[in-house]
Amino acid sequence: MSRPGDASASRVAEGAALGVRLREGDSGAAAAALNLIEDRSVGGREASRALLEEVSPRVLGGEAGGHLIGVTGPPGAGKSSLLSALVASWRDAGRSVAVLAVDPSSKRSGGSLLGDRARIEHDPGDDGVLIRSTAAGTRLGGLAAPTREAATALAPVFDVVVIETVGVGQSETDVAEVADTVAVVVQPGSGDTLQFLKAGIMEVPDVLVVTKADLGDTAVRAKRDLATALSALGSRGTPVLSVSSVPPPQGIDELSAALDAHRVTVDLPVARARARRLTALADFIAEHGERGLRSLGGRRSATRLLDNEGAALGVPALVSVLERRARSSSLQL
């Protein structure tokens, strides 16, 4: 007779084993790891913590090497076509790529249609490209906890990990919490972005991309307007790039170079530690809700609590910190 604990122990062992494989750069473990990370059952979460612990900087001996890039922008801006071209360019340069495509559709039934991967061209026989579609989580914690954790888990395996989200205003803030570099993608003539930037509704991104350069004058004008708005906001350093995904693609290599150039300017240990803390908080909220957050004294005090922890701590360890504190301050949890 097997005891109930056995199943759970074996899942934890499975999670740890997957984490070890990821740490060693085995992309074959990636899909199974994502299945586990998305599993919100009690057993699944225990296993997923074991997995994430194996890829924490504490165990890795430093930050994972993959470049976490957020790509966001309004629907129809041409993100998927742009990603097709970028993926091809990265592959040509010998870099492996994972794309986490977050789909905004989450209808009454709870189901969603994940259509993005269809629009990102790639060679299905190429193991150096992984595309995973996920439904957006609740707005409560911004970007869904599994997506944040997935990005963390894939960073040791893939040279580039893209988190693709849809929207203007909140989406780049959400994705900035996880990504090393955020690129906002807009199409010419989308005055919204310009207004949002000016009004401060939208944060200044690391790289601004104007698509459909093949439109000629319209694209040139859009690029100029955005550059003017950015410099008026005092952000002279933000590159504004014009690209076209229509063959022959234009501006893709320049964009790729601009993304790399930004990465160099990031203090990775600090940025990643912050990302892990926010991920831990999102995970905690996904599990324990507003009530759990109240028992920590609110978001700000929870953040402070995490800020005091070691920078190399992985997400599971940070979640444990929050859960221990919540338990000690409220017996209800």
């Binding site: 599993d39 699944g44 969603s112 579609s133 063959p247």
Partner: protein
């Protein structure tokens, strides 16, 4: 009078045509296989299982010679169902006529050449929208003087109805397509030629079972067409303003259950488009009674031809002037359709015209189709033998050894592959290379017409795949919108759907994450209407759905299943290539270590179904399984069973 025909090799199809012509058929209607329609040679990876399947494989001039052997081209009206590669097939036809000593002025016929409806419904596109429209405009500009009896384009409202269009949508989207084409041709021909161009545009319309309304639809289209000609394009000559159209009667409404009833449906639909002289179809094609079962045999096609002959020669149909003249009811119906169509055309125009509105129109069609299917499931729309009057005596029509359908010999594919390899080895390679290089130069220069260089490549012996390959290189690849992402949530969930949502929720909870399904269409079959409905319903029942659209290789489906971590894979296939492709997909999945249930939907004969189930497919659904919610319930059960969790009420 003709039947849409063609299968396997050019030689076999030629024998079939000559047989049909001897039975009183007066023209040819050529069906090409999917590789030919989408611009791939028989030896391309995507062609697997499709060579010679839904039509004839024509890979080069030699195949076209064999196809037309001993058929007098100067006396023949040839209709070719060809779109993305229409310019190429017309060039092959012209090259063969040339070598047979027939003057191109004597060639008459039609190339379908309506790419918009390929994006919306039929799926055999090859290039992105703008370059595709350029090819069409080039062909029209070329043929109007060079092949004056040729109808270069046949705008198809037919496939829109198959994709779920209401009569208003069918009219509006077809007319908007015509407008998009004409706007582009206007820039490419001299002003004095343009009225003749307008006069060469013809339509291919559907005839559904609501045959009174369908007749009104045709009258409305005639009125709109004339108005478009006069007001938008300034055409004044009456001859050019006439609405010219052919009809294929509806296949969508043909049932797998009690298939003999389809003969009556077909006859009524044929009556609807011939009954009033003012809107009588100029050409009529009837499907076979057993299309929902598999490939029709020659006898089945003969039966359809006889329906037309009875209508024309036994009834008094053709003896009177227009019998609806002065009918208040008919005029009222026509006015209603005109009003609706004009409003919908205005919406398309707001999107920037038919090309820019492809996404919008596709979403509308998916919605309409969803409403139609929902009504059949709920019993609001009655389909005799399917959702009412379903008890039946055994049908003697399906008792023959072949179970009432024809199958294509799997050998054909290998023979065609060998033949194209042989063809490439035997030709003058440097002439081909030169012709293809010249084609590329022309393709890059939008001011040039693609036809002369295409004709040169046809003469030199280039292949279908090479011609399309050069253009893909210049124009890029394209995936059409699936129309499902924007599908609205169901307005009112039925009790069955609510119950299903509860089960999906329970199983998802037990699994730890939401049930995730991959809906895939392997091969070149572009008829995605069924797959789209499955995808939308799966979403409505609460699943996460990965849908990548059409034209997927088994390798891509397997890679997606792994990367997306799906719990179940649903495959849809209607082209008859399931016998090759389904085992390929299952093998690719197993090779990748994906051990999830695979369900299949399509036009699948019982013998094939048994074989698939034995090979590890979990469920097979055919057109008789029209209750999608029930199919979804099965899928939930399969997932639950595979993971040892319970889906039942607790």
């Amino acid at each position: 009078m003709r039947t849409y025909a063609g299968h396997s090799s050019a030689k076999e199809s030629n024998a079939l045509y000559r047989n049909n012509l001897s039975k009183g058929q007066t023209g040819l209607s050529v069906a090409f296989d999917l590789p030919t329609q989408t611009g791939y040679d028989p030896d391309h990876e995507l062609s697997r299982g499709e060579v010679g399947k839904v039509g004839v494989s024509v890979a080069h001039k030699g195949d076209m010679h064999a196809l037309l052997d001993e058929i007098p081209l100067d006396a023949m009206n040839t209709s070719m169902t060809i779109n993305a590669t229409a310019a190429w097939l017309l060039a092959l036809y012209m090259a063969v006529a040339e070598e047979n000593g027939v003057d191109r002025n004597a060639l008459s016929g039609t190339t379908q050449n309506d790419i918009i409806k390929e994006f919306l419904s039929r799926g055999t596109y090859a290039f992105p929208p703008e370059p595709s429209m350029r090819l069409i405009a080039d062909m029209i500009a070329f043929t109007v003087d060079e092949v004056p009896k040729w109808n270069p384009i046949n705008i198809c409202s037919y496939h829109l109805q198959e994709a779920g269009a209401t009569p208003v949508q069918e009219i509006a989207y077809a007319m908007s397509t015509a407008q998009a084409v004409l706007d582009r041709v206007r820039d490419r021909v001299p002003a004095e030629t343009f009225p003749r161009v307008f006069g060469r545009i013809s339509f291919f319309v559907n005839a559904g079972i609501r045959f009174v309304e369908e007749h009104a639809k045709l009258r409305a289209m005639g009125r709109l067409w004339e108005q478009l000609g006069r007001e938008r394009y300034g055409v004044e000559d009456e001859r050019f303003l006439r609405f010219r159209y052919g009809v294929q009667v509806n296949s969508l409404g043909l049932t797998e259950a009690q298939p003999e009833n389809n003969v009556i449906r077909i006859a009524l639909e044929a009556l609807g488009v011939t009954i009033g002289r003012d809107a009588r179809a100029r050409a009529l094609q009837l499907p076979a009674w057993n299309e929902a079962l598999g490939l029709p045999r020659p006898w089945d096609q003969q039966w359809s031809l006889r329906i037309q002959q009875i209508l024309a020669f036994e009834t008094d149909l053709l003896e009177y002037p227009d019998i609806f003249e002065g009918s208040k009811v008919m005029d009222g119906l026509v006015d209603e359709l005109l009003e609706g169509s004009r409003a919908e055309m205005a919406v398309v125009a707001e999107h920037g015209g038919a090309v820019q509105a492809v996404d919008y129109m596709k979403t509308q069609l998916v919605e309409s189709h969803r409403a139609r299917i929902g009504a059949i499931e709920q019993g609001e729309l009655k389909v005799v033998g399917q959702n009412v009057f379903t008890s039946t005596e055994p049908s003697p029509l399906r008792e023959g050894e072949d179970a009432g359908i024809m199958t294509v010999d799997a050998k054909v594919e290998q023979e065609q592959i060998d033949a194209v390899l042989e063809w490439r080895a035997a030709r003058d390679q440097s002439a081909v290379d030169q012709a293809l290089q010249a084609l590329e130069v022309v393709a890059r220069d939008e001011s040039m017409n693609i036809m002369p260089a295409t004709l040169e490549a046809a003469r030199a012996g280039a292949t279908t795949g090479e011609w399309a390959g050069v253009l893909r290189g210049v124009f890029g690849e394209y995936r059409a919108p699936t129309g499902v992402s924007d599908a609205a949530a169901p307005l009112a969930a039925s009790e069955a759907l609510t119950d299903l949502q509860d089960r999906v929720e329970r199983v998802s909870e037990a699994l730890g994450r939401r049930i995730k399904i991959l809906v895939g269409k392997p091969g070149l079959d572009g008829h995605s209407n069924g797959a789209e409905q499955i995808a939308v319903r799966a979403r409505d029942s609460g699943m996460d759905v990965v849908y990548e659209g059409i034209r997927l290789t088994p390798a891509r489906i397997a890679a997606t299943a792994v990367q997306e971590g799906v719990h179940v894979v649903g495959l849809s296939i209607l082209s008859g290539s399931h016998r090759e492709l389904i085992p390929d997909v299952v093998a690719a999945l197993r090779e990748r270590g994906v051990d999830v249930p695979v369900v299949v939907g399509g036009i699948i004969p019982p013998a094939d179904e048994r074989e698939m189930l034995a090979d590890g497919v979990a469920r097979v659904y055919t057109p008789k399984d029209f209750e999608i919610t029930r199919i979804m319930g099965d899928i939930v059960d399969l997932v639950a069973e595979r993971h040892g969790v319970t889906a039942g009420a607790t």
